[in-house]
């Protein structure tokens, strides 16, 4: 899987490299071709380490919203517009370059001391402009309003918007490339991939009957779960479960109690956050009398997971995957201890 993505990325960069190089130096052209050659025999490259770790600027990349962005020189200052981007920067050890974060960036704790540029969806464009960072790491939430504004102000914005585990990996690789920190990104990604593989290897041969029916609960009033395009659905699949709402076309469908009873989930996972009333969905799922006869309630398989962990598509998503795996398959991964 990973080598697939790398091959895609490498061949893409090779093509772009060729395009850029033809305008500039023939030496760069040779480099670009060299990269292309490497991808061709990537399958033979057992240790999976890309050879090209130095990035040349100006660098043109395609971000995760499909936008083509050219970065003029190696970015020295970064503003992160999402908690997951902030976590990725810290995990790569690049926090010294981070000059602006959101008010929701609470991990690691030191991130809270960085200058704030607004909330998640409500970005203070003036504050960002005042800082004038070399690169801004945004998310799909900013696609329609914030990104065009920042772009018009001449700022460089990269949108990070992974829809599944594979794209989390490629998003970190993309960030590494943009920042000319390919090696740091690779070592972070390799560590994550090893842990992901450790989980998926143990669940991939399970038969359908061994995969529990899982209900993930976002909120209870109304009941909200995760649909086919939601990141969490992919995570449940990777952890060896089947989300009972996986067929829903909406990313975050509202469902009825009836649907829950009809599907009779064996495991219920409730996302809980911080603040008052955060436990309310968990309490509802544990106490609602009409759910008393479903398998998850009878067997006591109702768990809560920190939404900061499972909701952020950064490096800690692997922690969420491992926790989910324990909840769904205690017989393989050991009981979940919370």
């Amino acid at each position: 899987m990973l080598s697939d993505i790398k091959m895609k990325l490498n061949s893409k960069s090779a093509r772009l490299g060729t395009a850029v190089a033809s305008i500039f130096l023939s030496l760069v052209l040779l480099l670009g071709l060299a990269g292309g050659c490497k991808t061709a025999d990537d399958t033979e490259n057992e240790d999976d380490t890309p050879v090209v770790t130095e990035v040349s600027y100006p660098l043109t990349v395609t971000d995760q919203l499909g936008r083509t962005v050219t970065i003029q020189s190696e970015p020295q200052t970064i503003v992160s517009l999402s908690p997951s981007n902030t976590e990725t920067i810290y995990a790569m050890g690049l926090e010294d370059k981070l000059v602006g974060v959101t008010t929701y960036c609470n991990y690691p704790e030191a991130a809270a001391d960085k200058p704030k540029v607004g909330g998640f969806s409500t970005v203070d464009v003036e504050a960002v402009t005042a800082i004038g960072p070399d690169i801004i790491l945004a998310s799909n939430l900013h696609e329609s309003t914030v990104i065009p504004q920042l772009k018009q102000l001449g700022l460089t914005v990269i949108a990070i918007s992974p829809d599944n585990l594979e794209e989390v990996i490629s998003s970190i690789e993309l960030i590494g490339k943009c920042l000319n920190q390919v090696e740091k990104a690779n070592s972070l990604v390799d560590g994550m991939q090893t842990r992901i593989d450790a989980v998926t290897a143990k669940v991939k041969n399970l038969s359908d009957s061994q995969k529990p029916r899982v209900l993930y609960i976002i909120w209870y009033e109304p009941l909200m779960s995760v649909g086919s395009t939601a990141f969490i659905t992919d995570l449940i699949t990777a952890a060896g479960g089947v989300s009972i709402t996986a067929d829903s076309v909406e990313a975050y469908p509202t469902i009825s109690l009836e649907t829950v009873l009809g599907a009779n989930p064996q495991v219920i996972v409730v996302g809980t956050g911080m603040g008052s009333g955060a436990d309310a969905p968990l309490i509802f799922m544990q106490d609602e009398p009409r759910l008393a006869a479903i398998d998850a309630r009878i067997n006591g398989n109702i768990y809560s997971i920190n939404t900061d962990l499972i909701g952020r598509t950064g490096p800690r998503i692997v922690d969420a995957l491992e926790q989910l795996a324990q909840m769904l398959h205690p017989e393989i991964f050991g009981a979940f201890s919370g």
Binding site: E221, V249, E258, L261
Partner: protein, 363 residues
């Protein structure tokens, strides 16, 4: 009733229609609507995202009748789906539809204003501020559980109407125009408050929006047990004033001369209509159009005599809401569309159709 149509139009031009001479037809209509209500309810109980055979559905309901014993050949979860999820939901939808339609008819009659709906004097906006505050702050959930939001909404609704009432009361008299103006002004203010609250609602925004659009998805016997008695008592009080509502269409002075204690009637009707609206809104959120469209549709078809208009509105409101709820939970099952979106999408065009068809009765 010796009320004549031309007088009616002169003094209360805003409310269209005259008294229908053939009361028998409207009695048959009531019986027919009762039958339709029963059919709609049975239909609603048999439909859902989970397939339950019709015979099983009926058996489960019959088995709940005292002294009748049917040995169950269905699972516990099937019984819960029929008896504890669908039945309370259908009952709640019916009762809320009835409450909104009756309250709408009452406000229209009391204010002599065809634009009046149950939310005119701030009930919905007050409820919205209460509910949204409760949802955002997340307080009371530990103790009150699913009753936290309804309680906040109810307090908000009555708080808002209380303020409007104080503002509109001059001495011992309650001026209807002042009441409407105060209600609209306070309503706009509260709507602005809700808009602000939405911007700071963060990850609660979905719950907030869902509540604002209205839904029966949280219906349970517990909420039915609270809403049904309130709506029934309120509706009975309103029905007792049906004749007075007819007379007030002549104008307040005329009604007074004909022996109606107008101020007393206003207090009773306002309290009752506000109570049933607040009870409905608190538990299911803001469902629009029913309160304004149903009474007008009834007026257009069966005339404006409140002795028939009120019960007919109650029945049509109940049937309409049950049907709208069926659509809301089956159109894109297992997802749910907010029922308020359905009532607006279906109700508004149907009303416009009636309006076009019966133009002569209106003007």
């Amino acid at each position: 009733m010796g009320v004549n149509t031309s007088l009616n139009k002169e003094n209360c031009p805003a409310v269209p229609g005259g008294l229908h001479p053939h009361w028998q037809g409207r009695l048959y209509a009531m019986l027919g609507l009762l039958g339709l209500l029963l059919l709609a309810a049975i239909f609603a109980i048999s439909f859902g995202s989970v397939e339950v055979p019709f015979f099983t559905t009926i058996s489960i309901i019959i088995s709940k009748i005292p002294f009748i014993h049917i040995s169950p050949d269905w699972t516990v979860n099937t019984q819960i789906i029929i008896w504890d999820i669908r039945l309370p939901r259908v009952l709640l939808a019916g009762v809320v539809g009835m409450a909104l339609a009756v309250a709408g008819a009452t406000y229209q009659g009391l204010f002599c204003n065809p634009l009046a709906d149950p939310y005119l004097i701030g009930v919905a906006q007050g409820a919205a501020v209460g509910a949204v505050l409760g949802l955002i702050l997340g307080i009371g959930f530990d103790i009150l559980g699913i009753f936290a939001t309804p309680l906040f909404a109810f307090v908000g609704a009555f708080g808002a109407v209380g303020v409007v009432y104080m503002l509109a009361r001059v001495g011992n008299r309650l001026t209807v125009t002042t009441l409407i103006l105060a209600g609209v002004a306070l309503g706009s203010f509260l709507t602005a408050v809700v808009s602000y609250l939405i911007t700071v609602s963060g990850d609660k925004i979905h719950s907030v929006m869902f509540w604002l659009m209205g839904s029966f998805s949280m219906a349970a016997w517990d909420s039915v047990k609270i809403v049904v008695p309130i709506v029934i008592i309120g509706t009975i009080v309103i029905l007792l004033f049906a004749r007075s509502l007819n007379l007030i269409q002549l104008g307040e002075e005329q009604a007074q001369e004909l022996g109606v204690d107008v101020e007393r009637m206003k207090i009773f009707l306002l309290t009752a209509a506000t109570l049933i609206t607040a009870a409905a809104v608190s538990f299911v959120g803001i469902i629009g159009f029913v309160g304004i469209i149903v009474p007008h549709a009834v007026r257009l078809i069966w005339g404006a005599d409140y002795r028939f208009l009120l019960p007919l509105s109650a029945l049509v409101g109940a049937v309409f809401m049950i049907m709208a709820d069926i659509a809301s939970r089956t159109l894109v099952a297992p997802n749910e569309i907010p029922v308020g979106a359905i009532t607006a999408l279906v109700g508004a065009p149907f009303f416009l159709y009636l309006l076009r068809k019966r133009t002569r009765m209106l003007f």
